[in-house]
Every structure is written in structure tokens, then in C-alpha cells.
């Protein structure tokens, strides 16, 4: 299983599946942050976007994800102020330029992005920026992998582990894994090398710790400075993943000291009746029990232009990658 969405895209884009022998099957995992964000949090951001005086800031992919009834893109066309930012720090610039408005950032992402957002919160606190808050919808990768290896309906023989997340958390964070795992880079040859390493480990029935193919970037201990910032602001909590359900300790919530930055508490957003789109198989695809072409909506009712589920929207989503680059 390739855990990370960027790997899924690289595999599809380079047609790697077509180069592999039939006894090696690559399964896409839960590593697309937009995809695993449950409907309630998407609905919450849309609900906040509708409130006058609010500016929603987000990374690009999120804007087109369909909520239960509408999307941020549609709300924007109707007049809501929704802005795509490339760095969470941009939110503080907007907050300072528009002191009369509330800036709400949709905090979606894994350990790759969450430290930068934690850093932004620290900066906001230091500079006493009061009109900035974050919807905390962050996810942690290791608890999700643990859940996958323990699930009865999912059969995975090895993991291609995410390169960028691992640069932050380090190879040691996967010490619980009982099946082979290799942290891979994102070029075609990196991924092929990682697959070769995994196959050797499987054949040798080896129980060695996680190996690093992406040696130029990933260290066993990760990036302790980033981890420190992350856990200064946030603490782990149980979290709901689309399709997979609640996984213990797999999300992040604000520590009490920083709770003034929690948009859900600040604005008392109460979302009820959040519903996953009918017929959408994103949940099964994120668990690896279905491939995108096995979804009955894939390429028919659900396309990148008229997406039903988030896996077709996000550039890292498995459905989008299969649709764009074909099943090879």
C-alpha cells in the first residue's frame, strides 16, 4: 500500500502499475488529507463561510470538495469571501490588513503541514492577532496505519511510507509496524527502488525496522524542532476519518492554552445531519478495499469537474489520479 497521495499520483503519472509483475499489486491508502476529512468538518467550514464578516482561508484543494449540500466554491460564487492561501502565514497578513473581519483557516493536513500551522498560531499569539482562528481537522499518519494493519478486511503485505510526513516524524515513528515498510521519495525510480526493497523484505520474511529509501530527506529521528512546535500548540485526540471511522489518538486538538484559536469553539459551529454523498466509495478506496474504477460512480457521475466525493477533487486523491492518468 502506498500510504501517501503524492505517491499515488506519481505511480499513476509514471504508469508504474503497468511495469510491475502481476503478483505485486499497489493499493492506494488513506494519505490524502482532503479525502479523509469527514463531511461534518467540511460542512462546518461552509457554514462559517456564510457568516458575514468572515474570510475563509484554505489550501486550494479544499475549495471544491462537496459538502452535504454545497461547496466552498459555490459559496464563493454566491458572494462568500473564500481565499486560497499557499502558506498559513498569509492568514496573519490578511488578519492584520482586515482587522474588522474574522479570518478562519481550514486546518487540514498531516504532520507535513500541521507544524507550519502550529507555528502560525504561535506567531498569532505572540503578535496578539485576535481575528484569526483555525478549524482543527488535522490527522496523524501512524495511528491510521496501525488501524489498517489491525483491520480484518484489509490485507496489506507492505507499506510504501510517505516521504514528507516521515521527514517530520522520522522513521522511528513506525516502530509498531509488523510488516515491511520503506519510506520512499517521489520520483519514479525512488518508488520502484522502494518496491524492490519491500519485496526483498517480504521474501526474506525479515522483521527489520522501517527502511529509508528517501535518504536525502528523512532521518530516523525526523525533525524534532517541528514536532516540538506541533505539540506545543496541539495534543492528540481521537479523530474521525472518512470511510475508516474513529481512530484512537489520530487527530489533533488545541491545547487549552491556545483554545482561543479554535474556530469551532470560537464561533459555536454546530453541524448536524452531515451526510456522505450517496453511492460514493471514497471510504472503501481510502481503506484500500476498493480501487477507484470499482466505484460505480467513477468516471460516470463523478468526474474532476463534477466531483461527488473528495477523492475525485483533491490532486492527491486516488480517484483523481486514476481518472487523470488511467489505471496503469
Amino acid at each position: 500500500m502506498e500510504v501517501c497521495g503524492t505517491h499515488t499520483v506519481a505511480i499513476s503519472k509514471n504508469g508504474l502499475r503497468s511495469l510491475l509483475p502481476p503478483n505485486i499489486r499497489l493499493i492506494s491508502g488513506p494519505g490524502c488529507p482532503v479525502c479523509v476529512t469527514p463531511q461534518a468538518e467540511i460542512d462546518a467550514s461552509i457554514e462559517l463561510a456564510r457568516r458575514p464578516g468572515t474570510i475563509i482561508t484554505t489550501f486550494g484543494d479544499m475549495i471544491r470538495v462537496p459538502g452535504t449540500r454545497t461547496s466552498l466554491e459555490k459559496e464563493k460564487a454566491e458572494g462568500s469571501d473564500v481565499r486560497v492561501v499557499y502558506s498559513p502565514l498569509d492568514c496573519l497578513d490578511i488578519a492584520k490588513k482586515e482587522p474588522g473581519k474574522e479570518i478562519v483557516f481550514i486546518g487540514v493536513g498531516f504532520e507535513t503541514t500541521s507544524p507550519a500551522i502550529a507555528g502560525t498560531v504561535l506567531k498569532a499569539k505572540k503578535e496578539k492577532v485576535k481575528n484569526f482562528s483555525v478549524i482543527p481537522a488535522f490527522k496523524l499518519i501512524p495511528p491510521a496505519l496501525k488501524a489498517i494493519t489491525e483491520a480484518k478486511d484489509i490485507k496489506v503485505d507492505g507499506f510504501i511510507l510517505p516521504g514528507h510526513v516521515s521527514a517530520i516524524i522520522g522513521a522511528d515513528a513506525y516502530s509498531f509496524l509488523k510488516i515491511p515498510g520503506v519510506i520512499a521519495g517521489f520520483e519514479a525510480e525512488d518508488i520502484l527502488e522502494a518496491i524492490g526493497m519491500i519485496v526483498k523484505l517480504i521474501v526474506a520474511r525479515s522483521r527489520v525496522p522501517v527502511q529509508i529509501q528517501y535518504r536525502s530527506v528523512v532521518r530516523p529521528e525526523g525533525n524534532p524542532a517541528a514536532i516540538k512546535v506541533l505539540y506545543e500548540v496541539f495534543e492528540p485526540s481521537d479523530s474521525n476519518w472518512r470511510g475508516i471511522g474513529t481512530i484512537k489518538g489520530s487527530g489533533l486538538v488545541f491545547r487549552d492554552k491556545y483554545r482561543e484559536f479554535d474556530a469551532l469553539k470560537k464561533f459555536d459551529v454546530n453541524i448536524q445531519n452531515a451526510k456522505e454523498p450517496a453511492g460514493c466509495s471514497c471510504g472503501s478506496i481510502l481503506k484500500g478495499t476498493k480501487t477507484p474504477p470499482e466505484c460505480k460512480l467513477f468516471g460516470k457521475k463523478c468526474t474532476p469537474e463534477y466531483p461527488v466525493g473528495p477523492c475525485m477533487v483533491s490532486s492527491e486523491g486516488a480517484c483523481s489520479a486514476y481518472y487523470k492518468y488511467g489505471n496503469n
Binding site: S12, K76, A77, T303, G326
Partner: protein, 332 residues
């Protein structure tokens, strides 16, 4: 109630549906329905129009004025026409700086002179400042152009034929990435500059009866242009990933932003489909010019497959589709 969303303007199927359902169904006529970059009228005249809404107005490698002349000149050149006359219309929000307007006009004058065209008519409208999401007052420019198609030249997206060689005139994705960098202040340190340029000089250098298709891959990038050609000509296209020139700094920026250079806009490049017997001569003529020094043959038109395919650097063959539901800020 259905309303226009930004993605309706992104050049994918949503945009194509608007053109088909709202416009073609009402404007339909044999000249329009060909849907090339320029309309062919009165036998040997090419006629086209384009609007420019780029933000920021001034960017490394050009500005909205230069872009508005190059864009229309290039639409004419892609029909094999010699561009002759342009119109220029300005919609300006109140508050726009007079000095900036003068700079834009100077840039248009300089670009028009270099391209050998005259701006012969125009219009100016000033509108309320819309405010909204854009903090600074905006300017929008529409240009239209007329050019003359030389005798014996028949260039069209529907003329590609199996066996044709595909020549790309230089590096891709420079414009789109430079605009994104300028707009968002990513602070990429490399030399990122729009490739914005008039292409008529280069086209004249190799235009002959052996040139079947010319296309400048603007919005939607090289991938969109090749798909449109494959569909219009009913051929398949196979290109070689390793042959496609991308500047290292552009490649690095693309990889950081998660973009595929094949889908990123260009404003000073073309692809030409030429008869196989003419390919070396065409390539030599293009490469002899400053703007064409990185030109290369990237692939061929074929009969056997259906659609556009790219041979990856690891040897696999994958389909190359159009970008749909674009996420990027508007870049042209």
C-alpha cells in the same frame, strides 16, 4: 439556480460546455463552428479576439499590455496568417493609476511595432471599483486582430495526419509558474520569467505547405492543445516525456506546488505538426531564431491508439488528459 463559478473559465469541459450550450447553439454558423484560434473569412483573412485579465498587471517577462498584443498576434499566427491590424478595448476600474495605464500602452505600442501590426481602433470604458476580493483597482483589455493568410497555406487543428512530426518551439510552463510566483510572492529565487512573446516571426521562418497544424498552448498547457488537436484531427498522439524541455527552476517550482508542467500555461510557445519529410528543415529554421533555440521534436501523430499518450522516462505509456476543474488562480 445555476451560476457561473471560476472553474467555468478554466478551459476544461465546464468551459467547453458553456461555449457549446450557451454560445454556439445561438451563434452557430459554418465559420464559427470550426472553432480554431482564428476564424477564416473572405477566403484569405484570419480574424480573432481575446480578453486579458491577468493579475498582477506587471509581471517578470511582461505585462497585461504586452500579453494582449502577443495573445491576439499569436492566435492569427497559429492560422498561418500574417498579422496586420489590431483593435484594443480597455475596461478600467476607477482608481487605476494613470502612470500604470501609460506604461501598459507603451508596452502595447512596442510589442505591436516588433510584431509588425498596427493598433487601428479601440474603446475605453471606466467602471465603478468593484472591490470585493481584489484589493487594487483592475484593468481588463480585449484585443481583436485581422491577418492575411498566404496563398497555399492551410493550417488548422483538424489537419494533423498520422506520421506527422510534432515540433515544440521551446521550454514549457514558464508563463504560468512566473505569474503564480509574482501573484503569491512565493519567493522562489530562480530566474522565473514569463515567456510572453509574439510568435509570428518564428512561424514565418518555417511556414510552408508542409505545416499542417500550429497551436500555442496557452490556458490548459501543452496537454490541452494536444488533446484538442487529437480530437479535431481524429488522430492519436504519442509524445516523449524526456524530450519536453522544462527549465530546472520551473520544474522545481512545479514539483513544490504539485503542478504538472504539461498543464501549465505558456504565452510564447507553439506546437507544429509537420509532414515527416519536412521535420528537420522546420526544426533547423526554428532553432536558428533566438526564441526557438530550445525547439525540439517531441513526438508523432499516430493512427493506432485513441487520444494523447506520453511515454514516461521509465518506459511506460500513459494517457495524457486535459486538465479538468482547474484549481490554479487565473493566469492569462
Amino acid at each position: 439556480m445555476a451560476i457561473i463559478e471560476l472553474s467555468h473559465g478554466s478551459g476544461g469541459n465546464k468551459a467547453r460546455n458553456i461555449i457549446k450550450d450557451i454560445f454556439i447553439s445561438r451563434f452557430s454558423n459554418p465559420i464559427l463552428n470550426i472553432l480554431d484560434d482564428s476564424a477564416c473569412i473572405e477566403g484569405d483573412l484570419a480574424f480573432t479576439t481575446d480578453s486579458f485579465v491577468v493579475e498582477p498587471v506587471f509581471f517578470p517577462g511582461g505585462d497585461i499590455g504586452k500579453l494582449s498584443v502577443c495573445g491576439t498576434v499569436n492566435d492569427l499566427a497559429m492560422k498561418g496568417a500574417t498579422p496586420l491590424y489590431l483593435s484594443a478595448s480597455f475596461i478600467i476600474e476607477e482608481g487605476f493609476e494613470m502612470e500604470a495605464l501609460a506604461r501598459i500602452a507603451s508596452s502595447m505600442a512596442k510589442t505591436a511595432k516588433e510584431a509588425g501590426v498596427l493598433i487601428v481602433t479601440g474603446d475605453t470604458k471606466v467602471v465603478d471599483r468593484r472591490g470585493g476580493l481584489k484589493p487594487a483597482p483592475q484593468i481588463y483589455i480585449t484585443t481583436a486582430g485581422i491577418g492575411k493568410i498566404p496563398k497555399g497555406i492551410d493550417v488548422s487543428s483538424k489537419n494533423a495526419s498520422p506520421g506527422d512530426a510534432i515540433v515544440l518551439s521551446g521550454t514549457i510552463a514558464d508563463h504560468g509558474i512566473s505569474i503564480m510566483n509574482a501573484r503569491n510572492d512565493f519567493g522562489f529565487k530562480g530566474d522565473l520569467k514569463s515567456d510572453c512573446a509574439c510568435l509570428n516571426g518564428m512561424v514565418e521562418a518555417f511556414l510552408s505547405k508542409d505545416v499542417r497544424v500550429l497551436r500555442d498552448p496557452t490556458r490548459g498547457g501543452l496537454a490541452a492543445s494536444l488533446n484538442e488537436i487529437a480530437e479535431a484531427s481524429k488522430v492519436s498522439i504519442v509524445i516523449d516525456e524526456e524530450k519536453i524541455p522544462v527549465l530546472p527552476q520551473v520544474k522545481a517550482a512545479c514539483s513544490l506546488l504539485g503542478l504538472d508542467p504539461l498543464h501549465v500555461a505558456n504565452e510564447g510557445k507553439f506546437v507544429a505538426f509537420v509532414r515527416p519529410s519536412y521535420k528537420n528543415k522546420a526544426l533547423k529554421a526554428i532553432k536558428s531564431l533566438r526564441l526557438g533555440k530550445n525547439a525540439t521534436i517531441i513526438g508523432t501523430a499516430e493512427r493506432s491508439l485513441s487520444g494523447v499518450f506520453i511515454r514516461t522516462k521509465v518506459g511506460s505509456l500513459r494517457p495524457l488528459g486535459m486538465l479538468e476543474g482547474e484549481q490554479l488562480p487565473r493566469i492569462c
